[in-house]
Symmetry: D2
Subunit: 428 residues, 4 copies
Amino acid sequence: MNRNELYQTPPMGWNSYDYYDTTVNEEQVKANADYMAKNLKEFGWEYVVVDIEWYAYDAGTQRDKYQYIPFWKVEIDEYSRLLPCVDRFPSSADGRGFKPLADYIHELGLKFGIHIMRGIPRIAAHNHMKLLDSDKTANEIANPSSICDWNPDMYGVNVDMEEAQGYYNSIFELYAEWGVDFIKCDDICRYDQPSARREIEMLHHAIEHCGRPMVLSLSPGPALIKEAWHYEKYANMWRITDDFWDHWPLLKNMFERCELWQKHVAEGSYPDCDMLPMGYLGKGFGEERYTNFTKEEQITMMTLWCIFRSPLMLGAELTKLDDWTLNTLTNKEVLHLLAHSYGAKQVMRDEEQAIWFSKDTKEEVYYLALFNLSDDIRNISIDAKELEINSFKGKQLKEFWSKEIEKGLTDIFETEVSVHGAKLFKIC
Amino acid sequence: MNRNELYQTPPMGWNSYDYYDTTVNEEQVKANADYMAKNLKEFGWEYVVVDIEWYAYDAGTQRDKYQYIPFWKVEIDEYSRLLPCVDRFPSSADGRGFKPLADYIHELGLKFGIHIMRGIPRIAAHNHMKLLDSDKTANEIANPSSICDWNPDMYGVNVDMEEAQGYYNSIFELYAEWGVDFIKCDDICRYDQPSARREIEMLHHAIEHCGRPMVLSLSPGPALIKEAWHYEKYANMWRITDDFWDHWPLLKNMFERCELWQKHVAEGSYPDCDMLPMGYLGKGFGEERYTNFTKEEQITMMTLWCIFRSPLMLGAELTKLDDWTLNTLTNKEVLHLLAHSYGAKQVMRDEEQAIWFSKDTKEEVYYLALFNLSDDIRNISIDAKELEINSFKGKQLKEFWSKEIEKGLTDIFETEVSVHGAKLFKIC
Amino acid sequence: MNRNELYQTPPMGWNSYDYYDTTVNEEQVKANADYMAKNLKEFGWEYVVVDIEWYAYDAGTQRDKYQYIPFWKVEIDEYSRLLPCVDRFPSSADGRGFKPLADYIHELGLKFGIHIMRGIPRIAAHNHMKLLDSDKTANEIANPSSICDWNPDMYGVNVDMEEAQGYYNSIFELYAEWGVDFIKCDDICRYDQPSARREIEMLHHAIEHCGRPMVLSLSPGPALIKEAWHYEKYANMWRITDDFWDHWPLLKNMFERCELWQKHVAEGSYPDCDMLPMGYLGKGFGEERYTNFTKEEQITMMTLWCIFRSPLMLGAELTKLDDWTLNTLTNKEVLHLLAHSYGAKQVMRDEEQAIWFSKDTKEEVYYLALFNLSDDIRNISIDAKELEINSFKGKQLKEFWSKEIEKGLTDIFETEVSVHGAKLFKIC
Amino acid sequence: MNRNELYQTPPMGWNSYDYYDTTVNEEQVKANADYMAKNLKEFGWEYVVVDIEWYAYDAGTQRDKYQYIPFWKVEIDEYSRLLPCVDRFPSSADGRGFKPLADYIHELGLKFGIHIMRGIPRIAAHNHMKLLDSDKTANEIANPSSICDWNPDMYGVNVDMEEAQGYYNSIFELYAEWGVDFIKCDDICRYDQPSARREIEMLHHAIEHCGRPMVLSLSPGPALIKEAWHYEKYANMWRITDDFWDHWPLLKNMFERCELWQKHVAEGSYPDCDMLPMGYLGKGFGEERYTNFTKEEQITMMTLWCIFRSPLMLGAELTKLDDWTLNTLTNKEVLHLLAHSYGAKQVMRDEEQAIWFSKDTKEEVYYLALFNLSDDIRNISIDAKELEINSFKGKQLKEFWSKEIEKGLTDIFETEVSVHGAKLFKIC
């Protein structure tokens, strides 16, 4: 079955990174999954993703010096494949890996995802560890010059060796056995090297080889626009910025990124605006906080992500979600766009404001998003001719966040938008 | 009326540059227009475009030293607006400009286009010439630091002055009076400067202001992919490469360009693969020749341009067209794709071959183009699953150049393609 | 006679730019020359240099919009050679050029210099003006693509044409007739183009051809270190930074530049730290002010320029010099280094301090400069071994600004230096 | 004692790399040392340097795949310090290291050098090995992101940790015990990173700390001209090109490098033109050959290296030296320049020829080198005025390679130079 047909709408879920950094454990993952099943699942949220260094012992214990402790103990099987750290994921003991946790999540009606780093563990190369079904050993497929700038765990592989594909196949076979539905592969997206291209292809082939459908998500950004065709062919989502956090300049900058990538949104292949830093964040980083975004900024973020059709991944600790945030994440009309905003395009953008427009994939209705990027309350006006509808006369405009309805009276529509805020209209 | 709705299919026409360089005259333009009206018009060919330096005296007479003679006499009116060189365009005498020539072409049922350089003539600035309906003079709006790398005629304008927009308005008013339908603006497309953005917008506003619809075509390439949204908003076509000539490596390279721009083809806004260097070329450059492209390469070029939906502009001297070339340019089935290839995308590309696929905008038929980029005859095979059709079984494949029809038998289709050649199939 | 032997010590003088910008006139130049002859000459100050656009009419009258009014009237002779603007330099009337002013300055026992821009006036090219002793005209030697980024007056020349050398010869013949002793050529120093190399060589040949010795000074900076050999061969001084002004970060940065260029100081060829922005500055820029440098910073500047052996060019309006500044500029012991600091080298530099050391060219004495680059008073210590003298024991250290004398007692010498200040010792 | 005073003339010696690559063994080193002692020592040749990977087992055995076998066995002591591979250096067994070999070489009246890579062995970091006199372990000082592009053995150190300096101290203590006189440190010279600066300083401090004088030689090139002051302060020699081999374009290019660095030659600090690829070369690379350089090219190389005062390191297998090569390497008059060419400077250089000139440090004689860089026999002429001597009249010119003597007759001297050849004159 075609890869893209599996993912006709952008993936929605939760990711452990923004709150836990490297420290998340099994109990915490389950608690978030429980919350999702109970409160979010019915709105389309379904992926539960364990982010970076689930294989690492003592993760987060030297946070003053390192985000990732170099040269440290990792859980690894005899075939150079990383396994969950048993200290944090006790159900993984005795070689069970993530299967018990994945089973738990599947029973909740949800899907399970993990983060991996491109390549093979450095320690496997230095110790000449075995590879599954191969006469070669890890040192023979590891490329000693291919490292990640910011994480010390892996070597890239020698992309011309079939045993390197074999290694990727061997880890995806394991993930398939566990029941993994989503792979976020890191250190693979923003580099301008032929070998990065090749390792993306190897991941794709390993997923096909294992037989279990898995979303392939590439990090970190910013992805390279000149590689767009390649991402679209081999991956399902790819990050269009570096790590996104609760800081207004980063959100404002996302409009520039979405301008760049707007033509590249398609079924099964999604430019990714990164996780939503809402609710409580940062505990694993040593600075637990409630999001720095104002409510208006969160409305702006949700509006942009949904009309653009970015994947939606929650960064918040779900068990601490407040009512306002939960409501914001479960606005059915807004989330409808995530699946059904078609041909979304930026109509205009300057330093003060941005306007986006799209059609519904099924109905004869249009969507219009008005964003105030300035630091003052602002009237934003738009001429219907710019939108390829002739006039607003006789049209109804329903705003999805406030539920207010306005009648179009002339060719021009104008409305007040709050500081850093947004309005999202259905026009019919 | 919306700009893009005017140009629902890529413009098709003839341009004087490839054969005449800067030297074309009125008689020659008319002869080419006559030929087009008689032999090509019924197939959709309609624009007749006079390329660079129609205002320059003695153009081409110092070709050993200069392509563009610097600091030389140009025809210019009292308001700093360039007019056709009367030596070469005698009907333009007495301030009639290109109106008589445009009338002639319109009477043939064709459309008329001209090339311009961004900015205002240097000589107007140095002589403090007047501007239409303005108290300012040319020196006040000319930017002495904004020049073209390769042509000495113009200064860019001071983009923050409204009189600069006024100057652009004044020249487009003149072009509208003449009856110009197509503007190819040069020295504006490949630069990564805010002022280039601004001058593109000024051209757009000047077209809107003059009230006559005109195709806005931007040169030279390669256009910048990060400016795609801006080109799409303000122009109708923009060059995706530097000047394209009859040299195989340039044609092979176009596949890389089309990969990059494939998502950006839309009604009224077309990435432009540049003129078709077929037939007789190069006389004005001092090296008249029959195209260096083999027939196979020309088939490859036409197939790529049409499935991708590039504008088609003929570089050949039309009065010297041979039968083979004329037939190639008037293959109705192939040209049908130019208007009706929808969602065209590259399926694969490597050093040896490329495959493209699209749907028809109206019928339930598909198009498949197989390109042999290698230097050997090659069997190219394709799995239907890669094309989002399930199988070739029971399907009919009609090749548009040979008119041969094959029956699909399995999930895979394989066929032999000649060196540097292409096959273009309709699948139904 | 060898070029470099003429200038065995770095040139010292005054330049009109820092105070007058483009506006200086004959009376003002004379007033500054008079002051120099009376108060500064005996200390070695001798050049009086008229900086940019002495040929331009209305210079400075549109300062809100332009530093250099584009496309404006200039004084020019029939052979495309710029002459002084008669409005500002009345003695130049009737084709006398700068000869009367140069004579005046020479009679004071001083030397006369002018600023020129690389190339030929744009207006000469556009008007096809004549060239001295040539059948060619200005348009034939002007390069329409070679312009200055920041000044609109000139086109560079076609460096492969002997008539271009002829044009440079013709202007230097004129300058020789006038009695010019110093040429500051602008728009020629920081560019990484083969043609910049060639125009420097043309200037050199034109000086040789005219027969009158002239210092050749190149601007603007920063000069390119990889071109050092070329500057040394063809010029006498070249700017190692962009324009230098009375702003501490620029002065602090000069230490980095001097580190880079320290090995390239030699008789007749001097890396140039640019003019000394002391006293009153900025009138022509519309912001007349007393220098923003503190006294300590000025001591630092003079100490660095002198031990490094930069040319010394005063930016101040001399007629307004206060006693402190005049004393600082006429410290004979400090100025002695300008001529006699040999093998000066940076001993150390970090963000807080810098140390320089040199020998005297004639006596067995050493110079030691200690600079406090930090924002606090600071004890600076230095081990004699770092200086290639074995110990300070028994040595006398005389500080040249305070005239205080200290006795060295150990291998280490330590002294307190004020914020942004310097001490300069003679060790004997 | 001052570092630079130890090395008043450029080091001369032999290096194992060009012939043996990574494979050299004790017997081979001794044979070359024996030859040097017998045939070369009296002419100043004295260093015997064991190049890269003397610590590696099986070095060179996988030459089809790797120059440096990654993740392979190395000889290492308990404190993370590499030791010689006992297989190749049997006298190093039982922890004796290079002491027996160094003793052997010292007894011949020669000096002993080794190559090292910047940093600490990767295997030490992964195995948490101990550090001498420290509570920290190797993993704590290794920087997992600091690797060499082309060699897989080491990690750079965390330059802000004093234990990192401690590690460098510990290895240099060992080298001092062994009797090492020369350290060629690799992967440290051409990078534009603050940490590279810091590791150079650490090497310098480690040499000072160990108390034994050692030449500090930095590789690979090209060194950065903007770092010249830093190299001069902390090192004795640094490579000004990437690896130099017996290929004319590389030799021709060296003239450009020497132009750039000519002002930076000083006692104890030498820009390094790299090893002399003469005689038999390349065995360890699998392509043993007699040098590709013609005799004329070798004369050119020796002349340039000597007048410029580059260190001289022989790449040849000494035991196979032929008479011509031996004679070329032992021309006393030419080698005299290596020590006594003062103020050497390029007089001119273009694509066809180059001229260098210098004075003797002690006598009132001058040196003049004429190089024919073209592919034809060429008369090269030089005007005495360009050389700061007034005339050749009455002067004697002795050519050092041919021993021929000419009398100067006029201001100009002209002589024929063979293709790619050189002449080197003493003028007195």
